[in-house]
Symmetry: C2
Subunit: 173 residues, 2 copies
């Protein structure tokens, strides 16, 4: 949920071939089928805010994590695991200094959202995504879905937060 | 919209007494009356996302700007000036490194939302807030409204973006 395709490839490489193989679809048709039929879920930009973040380094972005109604309800109630139907969206934009804001503040301090980079989704379907903790992972670059190979590192990277049902982001009050 | 009370005081000081005096209420009852009757607008946390930002320096926060339905519609349509009834909310949280995320990324790069700092609002009412470009400004610290003196610098700081109806934030697609 917090990785670009580039990062995913790096992580898979770090994890080694064994990890990669362990992520091979147990049920090929299920895992290789594109989530959301390859389409960005309608209305995701209207979903409510879970939290925001900043990534330095190669990502160098500002990001917002939104949730559909099922996801937001679960976050607010601290309900784990997330119920089926929950969808979490991670939007990201280039990290851009704002000279306009800096002039108003009288110092260099302000960074705002530039162009969108990519969008990632996690969708909970405990029957469908049995090989990845009940979550399906998707990413769209310029509106185009990343393929199954590009997404194969998502699950393993989220395993460290298995106690929070594989979700890194915490709700910002 | 992008200032804490602390910053506002500093800006008023920089602008000098003349600016401060020019911001004195033309109609005392209107301007000194607390916006929203001193209450945080119900449901603001469910409003849709306009954009996110990061402020370094004394603020050192991550922030999200949300809008009610009227504000979001105007942003998306590029409609200026904003219609009466538009409300823009600026939430902010402490800027906190995430060791959990950094471990997953394999490098120090990730910053997430910590405790909430304060909440600011701009509400458009062109008949009511005639002395501040049609916008009323409010801030809540730990749920408590900042008084009129604490808010008196808001308008003058927003004047540089008068061409965008005094709104700094641009919509993040």
């Amino acid at each position: 949920m917090t990785f670009t395709r580039y990062m995913l490839v790096a992580v898979v490489a770090l994890a080694g071939g064994a990890a990669y193989i362990s992520l091979a679809p147990a049920h090929g048709d299920e895992v290789s089928a594109p989530i959301f039929d390859g389409e960005i879920p309608a209305g995701y930009r209207d979903w409510r805010l879970i939290a925001v973040a900043h990534e330095e380094g190669d990502l160098n972005d500002l990001r917002a994590v939104l949730g559909n109604d099922i996801a937001i309800k679960a976050f607010r109630e601290g309900k784990l695991p997330f119920p089926d139907g929950a969808i979490i969206a991670r939007l990201a934009w280039k990290y851009v200094p704002s000279e306009e804001n800096n002039r108003a503040f009288g110092r260099q301090q302000s960074f705002v959202t530039g162009d969108a980079t990519n969008i990632q989704f996690m969708v909970k379907d405990s029957a469908k995504y049995t090989s990845s903790g009940g979550w399906g992972f998707a990413q769209f670059n310029d509106g185009k879905p990343v393929d199954a190979v590009g997404l194969s590192g998502c699950y393993v990277c989220h395993v460290p937060v298995k106690a929070r049902d594989l979700v890194f982001t915490r709700y910002a009050p």
